[in-house]
């Protein structure tokens, strides 16, 4: 059946049918480096002057690699802040990913309240090109304060929260859940836009974020991993003894 003959296609061709598209956002977004994602983000990229919530349950699925293209570009001329990350950054890896270390600031907080306070101060200053904040315990009130602080600035503001926060309301205009691809999608990052300005988008996005080894090699390894795992421990045992 050709497309023009399907009933749906015929309806869509009528002049009086209006299809909802992405709302035209006056602020131009910062390109994320992933065309599939940029096409779905209002403004064509990560929004400036508004909170973006990234909901991840397990770290290590590539959630930071999703931001790295934008961060690497912004860090060349502007400041980037990491606030209250749960782990220690490995300087060489950040430099290797193209982040200008001389423009990177790390803020460690003593508790959740300090982390939210520091994020608000940093956002309100407007001096940073991008702010990443790990706020697993933030409530809607704290997020609203952050959203107010971010408004009117040109910073990208990312808040990292666990996936179960997806069910609670949030003032952030853009929210994404991120998870690792399974089965055929292993090595990909699956992003779902659970909230954005404009019509809902239910289709999950398959993003090829940078991984320690290329996907082609990964698929080969998957087939041979049994032999690898049999071989490796014996070899290390020999080396260590």
């Amino acid at each position: 059946m050709s497309a023009s003959s399907s009933p749906l296609a015929q309806v869509l061709q009528r002049a009086d049918v209006w299809r909802g598209r992405l709302a035209q956002v006056s602020v131009e977004g910062e390109p994320s480096g992933f065309d599939v994602l940029d096409a779905e983000l209002p403004g064509g990229g990560w929004p400036r002057g508004a909170l973006t919530e990234l909901l991840v349950s397990q770290q290590g699925v590539g959630e930071l690699s999703l931001l790295l293209p934008a961060l690497a570009r912004l860090s060349q001329t502007g400041w980037v802040a990491l606030i209250a990350p749960s782990h220690l950054p490995h300087a060489a890896a950040w430099a290797g990913a193209g982040i200008a270390l001389e423009h990177l600031w790390l803020v460690r907080a003593n508790d959740a309240m300090d982390a939210a306070w520091a994020t608000e101060q940093v956002l309100a200053s407007g001096a940073f090109a991008a702010v990443l904040s790990w706020l697993p315990k933030a409530n809607a009130y704290a997020l609203r304060r952050l959203q107010l602080a971010a408004e009117g600035q040109r910073s990208l503001a990312f808040v990292m929260r666990p996936t179960h926060a997806a069910s609670s309301s949030s003032p952030a205009p853009l929210r994404l859940t991120l998870e690792a691809g399974q089965a055929d999608d292993v090595g990909y990052l699956i992003a779902r836009l659970i909230k954005r300005r404009g019509p809902l988008q239910h289709q999950p996005l398959r993003l090829m974020v940078k991984r320690p080894l290329p996907l082609a090699r990964l698929n080969k390894k998957r087939i041979t991993h049994l032999s690898l795992s049999r071989r490796q421990p014996t070899m290390t045992d020999v080396l260590l003894k």
């Binding site: 770290q59 060489a92 890896a93 270390l101 001389e102 790390l106 390894k221 421990p233 260590l240």
Partner: protein, 476 residues
């Protein structure tokens, strides 16, 4: 030249914390009084006994010239915010030469407003006047005339209605002048000068000529001290930090003026609080960069005082800044880029609340052991990425976590797939002995690293050593 005279009529009582009604007495006579005391009918020069009769609840301070001088010096330092040419007229006035700095502050009315607002903020009552000669400005301020005279030929007209008391002659001379029928300065101007010189000595005609700008009136400039150490003696011990902040603020404003006048900045200063038992508490205020901005120093002071637990009430408060560095004026950037100087106020605010070591940048260290390869510094340091470097994870766990081994394979929520490796890292024999002494040492390590993928899709960096499998990094 243009002079701004600041006369502090209540200096003697305003060096104490505000209480009302109050008076200061010198040799049993009232020398300063506040509004409430004036409303009760108390006047200058009245005997203390009569004053107490009019207002029994009167708070009486003995005049303390030493404290007044300290306060006036602090005010002179603060005036350095506006002009480096400040002259102190003892015991209670300042003369600021402002002719050269009007443009910087947006004209005379704007500067005048800023000076008065600054005095009010610190809690000083002030009478201010502007005139082309220092003496004319001083007399106008003494008389409470809020005049702004900018041309020399207008001086005589403006001074004419002032009472002759502004001359600060003794009672005897004032009485003699009054006996000629002289009530106002205008009357004195009309008298022949040589006659006045014969009757009152050459001093009076000289004063008049100086006030009218006919002869020069050189003034000794206030010398901004080499090191800033201003103290405020609290009249009563203070045990809450809020009251302490009010007092210390005056010192910070003086410090900022002192720095402006010397074109310097500081990155650290000390607030020393002396308790009544002669012990001291020292609060060090650290800035992220050299500054002379009172607002910045104040914000840090507030953060520090808010968290300070006073062991005992404070009697004296001293602000010391002894490491000032030359700091030229700043220029705005042309293209709006944000320099580290612009970031400094934010960084130091974060540091004041979270702790000095909690805010900083990263620097890569040439060490193969991952836990030693990153240093947290006061500011990040550029690092050339090496393209030949192997993949390294963005995050390291604070402590490597032991993973169980099942059937010869490491487990973390199921068996892990080993995707790349082994990569041998063997290094660090040199600090094996220091491992218990310093935190930075991590000793001799011999590890085989692998990139692993968990069943939940987490990319992990794990290693195997003599003790088994460990999880150290996350490829986020």
């Amino acid at each position: 030249m243009l002079w701004l005279a600041l006369y502090f009529p209540r200096l003697a009582i305003e060096i104490y914390p505000p209480q009302s009604p109050c008076v200061a007495v010198e040799k049993d006579r009232i020398c300063a009084l506040d509004t409430a005391a004036a409303e009760a009918g108390i006047e200058h020069g009245m005997r203390l006994a009569s004053a107490l009769g009019l207002s029994p609840g009167l708070i009486v301070y003995q005049r303390d010239i030493v404290r007044e001088t300290q306060a006036l010096d602090a005010l002179a330092c603060w005036a350095g915010n506006f002009t480096p040419q400040v002259s102190v007229v003892s015991p209670d006035s300042l003369l600021l030469e402002i002719g050269g700095c009007l443009r910087l502050f947006g004209g005379l009315p704007a500067l005048h407003r800023q000076v008065l607002a600054g005095c009010a903020e610190q809690g000083w009552s002030v009478q201010a006047a502007v005139a082309p000669t220092p003496l004319a400005a001083y007399w106008l301020a003494l008389a409470g005339e809020d005049a702004m005279v900018q041309t020399s030929h207008a001086i005589a007209t403006v001074l004419a209605p002032l009472p002759i008391e502004v001359l600060k002659f003794n009672d005897n001379e004032i009485n003699r002048l009054s006996s000629f029928g002289v009530r106002e300065l205008g009357d004195v101007f009309r008298l022949p000068r040589d006659g006045l010189a014969r009757r009152f000595g050459p001093q009076l005609p000289t004063l008049l000529a100086r006030a009218l700008g006919e002869i020069p009136d050189p003034r000794p400039w206030f010398v901004f001290p080499e090191c800033f150490a201003q103290r405020i003696e609290l009249p009563a011990p203070v045990d809450n930090t809020q009251a302490l902040f009010f007092v210390a603020r005056r010192l910070v404003l003086a410090l900022s003026g002192w720095l402006s006048a010397r074109a310097s900045g500081i990155d650290t200063c000390r607030l020393v609080l002396r308790h009544h038992d002669q012990t001291t508490t020292e609060v060090t205020l650290k800035m992220a960069g050299y500054t002379r901005d009172a607002k910045r120093i104040e914000r840090i002071l507030r953060e520090r005082l808010d968290r300070l637990q006073l062991a005992a009430p404070v009697e004296t408060c001293v602000l010391i800044a002894d490491a000032a560095q030359a700091l030229p004026g700043s220029t705005d950037s042309l293209f709006g880029e944000v320099a580290v100087e612009a970031l400094a106020p934010l960084i130091e605010r974060l540091r004041a609340r979270l702790g000095e070591d909690k805010v900083g940048g990263l620097a890569a260290v040439a060490d193969y052991r991952p836990e030693c390869a990153t240093a947290m510094q006061m500011q990040g340091r550029a690092c050339m990425p090496h393209s030949h470097d192997r993949q390294r994870p963005l995050w390291l766990l604070p402590q490597a976590r032991t993973l169980p081994e099942v059937n010869g394979r490491p487990h973390h929520a199921g068996p892990l797939q080993l995707l790349a490796g082994p990569e041998r890292i063997e290094s660090g024999w040199w600090d094996e002995d220091e491992i218990h002494d310093t935190h930075s040492a991590c000793g001799d390590v011999r590890r085989d690293y692998f990139v692993a993928l968990s069943s939940r899709g987490e990319w992990m960096w794990i290693y195997r050593d003599g003790a088994g499998w460990h999880w150290q990094g996350i490829f986020s």
